[in-house]
Amino acid sequence: DTAVSQTPKYLVTQMGNDKSIKCEQNLGHDTMYWYKQDSKKFLKIMFSYNNKELIINETVPNRFSPKSPDKAHLNLHINSLELGDSAVYFCASSQKAGLAGGEETQYFGPGTRLLVL
């Protein structure tokens, strides 16, 4: 059973197109995240949702819009794709947004490799 799944695994598209990446977790977690990993492997948080509510929105262009229809799903829609959007996008989830001093394991999906031509 896949705990955090993402579709598609690969996405090749032209500049200017709009695309979506879907994420689902079957762990019953409250919090879900989107991360971007660039070609140098640098991993940076983009968004975080807790119980369908947006709690973290890093300095991400407005072309990126997350949507959480329910606690188990967090999708990422990207408008007007640019060359610089090429990266691997990871969805992750964790049990809680985090309690002060509490431990937290983030479970990552397999990633979506986006290539913008």
Partner: protein, 114 residues
């Protein structure tokens, strides 16, 4: 500006040797320090984590050493094996309006030679 600085960028170790990866941070509000392991083509997975009130944590061949006063922490992999070849990320968690967020170091690519 990297809030969590990780070194080295890459590391080659002989099988059976000790792999050491170092991280440093500035924000004293960080309250949790996990290490993630990532194999090629896969998502990162939690390896081991420590809280700042603990100086050392060991799980099997993996040990975190934490120096709160120096704001540094490190991962030691004892008896390194070829199967340990992966990218390792240190990370730190900070409070944020409504929750917490995890900030990752730049990663260390470890290669263990057989």
């Amino acid at each position: 500006q990297q809030q969590v600085k990780q070194s080295p960028q890459s590391l080659i170790v002989q099988k059976g040797g000790i792999s050491i990866i170092n991280c440093a941070y500035e924000n004293t509000a960080f309250d949790y320090f996990p290490w993630y392991q990532q194999f090629p083509g896969k998502g990162p997975a939690l390896l081991i984590a420590i809280r700042p009130d603990v100086s050392e944590k060991k799980e099997g061949r993996f040990t975190i050493s934490f120096n709160k006063s120096a704001k540094q922490f490190s991962l030691h992999i004892m008896d390194s094996q070829p199967g340990d070849s992966a990218t390792y990320f240190c990370a730190a968690r900070e409070g944020y309006t409504g929750g917490f967020k995890t900030i990752f170091g730049a990663g260390t690519r470890l290669f263990v030679k057989a």
